[in-house]
Every structure is written in structure tokens, then in C-alpha cells.
């Protein structure tokens, strides 16, 4: 399968970078063709500009400023997101990918004022992530990033496509052993993706 990996962490020596490496390695071992989109390394601009906002509903022109990213998204048969959770949400650079690339005509179409999903070519989704907070605190906050994956993304991709959500919580207090176990788990999940 052609898998688009969206990765967002600025530091090469971070735990997220280690997860990213495991994800790429696991997917390649499983024989997938991987398009590794490292948002920080590619210096992705997360701010939707005034011009983009004005042309947002213009299906011919709205994708021009991000045409490369749109092409990569539309070619993908599966999507894997590797990111830390910051403040119970995605880092801005990843949220900006949604704002700027998930455009009308790309990720959805408008028909009679209703949103019709348009990423049916994606038939598998996984999210690999870490939280500073505990699982309980994330639950009490309503776990926004989990819902983005299990409700929003699930609704845009092929109906019934499997969605995997792999998260390590309480990052400031987890032990070395827990971190290593999570890395192995992610590696094996991606190896079987």
C-alpha cells in the first residue's frame, strides 16, 4: 500500500522522533511504499493566509498554494499520523495541515450545503501519539485529539476502514521500560499494518 506518514515534532532526538523511525521501519518491513512527510523538516507553513481563505471555496484555485501536499494526500491509500499531543490538541503545524490541505474538493465536497467525504482512497488509518497528561485527565478533557481521529478522520476516509489509535500517556512520569515497550508495540503494529 502507499502510506502517507504525517510526522510533526521539531526535535531530532525526541521520543516522537524515535516513534517516527519505528513507524517508517515497520511500514517498510511490511512492504509498503512510504511517503514520509516530516512537517517540520519540510518547513510546512501552518497558517492559512488571507488569499487562501478568500479562495477557500473556489475549487479550481484553492489547492494551488499547497498542490504538492494535496497530490500526496490524494495518492495515499493509507494514512499514519505520528505526533505528540500538546495542550490536548495537535501541534499547530499539524493542525495547519488540516486547515490548509484538507480543502473543499480535496478531503470533502459540498453538496446542497452538506459535507460529503472525499478521501475514500484511504482505507486504513493509524495514529501514534504521546500525551503529557494521564489517560484519566485526557478522558475528562474529552480527549479532543482522539476524537479527531476516531470521528472526524474516520468520517472522511473509506467507510468502515480500520482506525488504530496507539497512545502513551503521562509522558513526564513514564519509565524507560514503558517507553521501550511502547516503541516495540508501535514497531510491531506497523510491521503488521
Amino acid at each position: 500500500m502507499r502510506v502517507l506518514v504525517l510526522y510533526s515534532h521539531p526535535v531530532e532526538s525526541s521520543f516522537a522522533a524515535a516513534l517516527h523511525e519505528k513507524v517508517i521501519d515497520g511500514l517498510q518491513n511490511a512492504g509498503h511504499e512510504v511517503d514520509d512527510c516530516d512537517l517540520y523538516a519540510e518547513d510546512f507553513e501552518p497558517r492559512l493566509s488571507r488569499e487562501e481563505r478568500l479562495a477557500y471555496h473556489d475549487l479550481e484555485h484553492n489547492r494551488l498554494p499547497v498542490s504538492g501536499y494535496v497530490e500526496r494526500l490524494l495518492k495515499a491509500e493509507a494514512l499514519v499520523i505520528v505526533t505528540p499531543v500538546w495542550n490536548f490538541g495537535y501541534p499547530a503545524i499539524l493542525k495547519g495541515f488540516l486547515d490548509r490541505v484538507f480543502l473543499p474538493g480535496v478531503s470533502f465536497k459540498m453538496a446542497d450545503g452538506k459535507v460529503v467525504p472525499n478521501l475514500q482512497s484511504i482505507h486504513k488509518l493509524a495514529v501514534v501519539t504521546t500525551y503529557g497528561g494521564t489517560r484519566l485527565r485526557a478522558f475528562l478533557v474529552g480527549d479532543p485529539p482522539r476524537k479527531i481521529a476516531t470521528r472526524l478522520f474516520r468520517g472522511l476516509i473509506k467507510p468502515g476502514a480500520p482506525v488504530g489509535y496507539y497512545a502513551l500517556y503521562d509522558m513526564n512520569r513514564v519509565t524507560q521500560v514503558q517507553r521501550e515497550n511502547f516503541l516495540s508495540k508501535v514497531h510491531s503494529k506497523m510491521g503488521a499494518f
Binding site: 515534532h9 521539531p10 526535535v11 531530532e12 525526541s14 517540520y40 501552518p46 497558517r47 492559512l48 493566509s49 488571507r50 487562501e52 481563505r53 478568500l54 500538546w86 495542550n87 490536548f88 490538541g89 495537535y90 501541534p91 499547530a92 503545524i93 493542525k95 495547519g96 488540516l98 486547515d99 490548509r100 484538507f102 459540498m110 450545503g113 459535507v115 503529557g132 497528561g133 485527565r137 475528562l140 478533557v141 474529552g142 480527549d143 479532543p144 485529539p145 476524537k147 479527531i148 470521528r151 472526524l152 503521562d170 513526564n172 512520569r173
Partner: protein
């Protein structure tokens, strides 16, 4: 009350800009001292870079790149956010402001072996959100309202235990009319005026 309005929309001619103007006027008329941060106008960079992330846990050093913003959140007693809801969440611009400005040691203490996270923004006693949503109320609820929860559950947990909140949204923006927009502007004035 010292009030900080944080506004995020790229178009000065947008409906959100009108909401921001109405919010500021209303708050000033109600006798509050108002400061405005217009993130797009000041060219705020929402992506936390590698150096900043490396220094994230270091007291003082983590404040340096965003010192003026940190000063503003320490100054205010009320926070008012005005933004369009995009993909059920905050625009990247506003999310990045939270990521970069609400740093540890200032806004909270990291959890340790023996104790949980400790909030440090008890001087903030009110938080309001004024937003617009493309989706309906029902779909927004089904998606779990990520933007609303990031602020009114996540960030609010760092503020005063009795912190009051107000959430105002105009749904179905794509089929909004002049009437619905004026009605919502009036609603914003009315609710913020007595908040």
C-alpha cells in the same frame, strides 16, 4: 476587569473581524480594561521550533521567545477568544499561541513522582469563546467539539477553580444570512456585556 482578547482570523474584512470589534466595544463599555492580541496582524509564528522545544522545560528560558505574550496572560483576569472554528478545532495560529505561550513553570508545574500537575493561572477568573462553525450544532457535538474542549477544559483547568466560562457559536456559517449574522452579533454583545 483586565481583559485580554485573543483574535485569530486572516481577513480584516471578515465576519470574525466584526465579531472581534463588537466584543472589544462591548467589553470596554462594560468598564473592562481591554488589550487585544491580533495574531495574524502581528505575524505570530505558531510552530514551536526545535530550540524552543529543547528549552521548553527550563524556567525563564522558555519565556524568552514569547515574553510579551506571557506578560499579557499574567496581566489579565479575563480571557476572550474570537476565532473561526476550522475542522472542529482552533485555527493552527491560535493552537500555536497556546503551545508556545502557555509554558510550564509559568502556567503550571509539571507533574512529579509524588504529585500531579499544578495549575498556576488562578488570576484568570473568566474565559469566553466567540466563534463561528461551518458545521451544525449536532455534528459539532458528535465530533466532541475539540476546539471548545481544548480551551474550556484543557486550559481552563489551569485557571481559578471557580473560573466562569461562556461559549458562543454561530453554526452553519455556509448557509448563514445577513439576519442570522446580525442576530449573532447582537447575541455576542448581549452575553459579553453581562459576563
Amino acid at each position: 476587569m483586565r481583559t485580554l482578547v485573543v483574535y485569530s482570523h486572516p481577513c480584516p474584512e471578515s465576519y470574525n473581524a466584526a465579531l472581534k470589534t463588537a466584543a472589544v466595544e462591548t467589553l470596554e463599555n462594560a468598564g473592562h480594561e481591554v488589550r487585544v492580541i491580533d495574531l495574524y496582524a502581528e505575524g505570530f509564528n505558531p510552530a514551536m521550533d526545535a530550540d524552543e522545544r529543547r528549552g521548553y522545560h527550563e524556567p525563564d528560558k522558555n519565556v524568552e521567545p514569547v515574553a510579551e505574550h506571557v506578560e499579557a496572560i499574567m496581566w489579565c483576569e479575563m480571557l476572550v477568544f474570537v476565532y473561526p472554528t476550522w475542522w472542529f478545532g482552533l485555527p493552527a495560529m491560535l493552537k500555536g499561541w497556546l503551545d508556545r505561550v502557555w509554558v510550564p513553570h509559568v502556567t503550571f508545574e509539571m507533574p512529579s513522582e509524588t504529585s500531579g500537575m499544578k495549575p498556576k493561572m488562578q488570576h484568570i477568573r473568566k474565559i469566553a469563546i466567540v466563534t463561528t462553525c461551518g458545521a451544525t450544532w449536532l455534528i459539532s457535538k458528535f465530533m466532541g467539539e475539540p476546539g471548545r474542549k481544548t480551551i474550556l477544559r484543557g486550559m481552563k483547568a489551569l485557571c481559578a477553580p471557580s473560573c466562569k466560562s461562556l461559549y458562543l457559536a454561530h453554526y452553519k456559517m455556509d448557509t448563514s444570512t445577513d439576519q442570522s449574522r446580525s442576530r449573532y452579533l447582537a447575541k455576542v454583545r448581549q452575553h459579553l456585556g453581562k459576563f
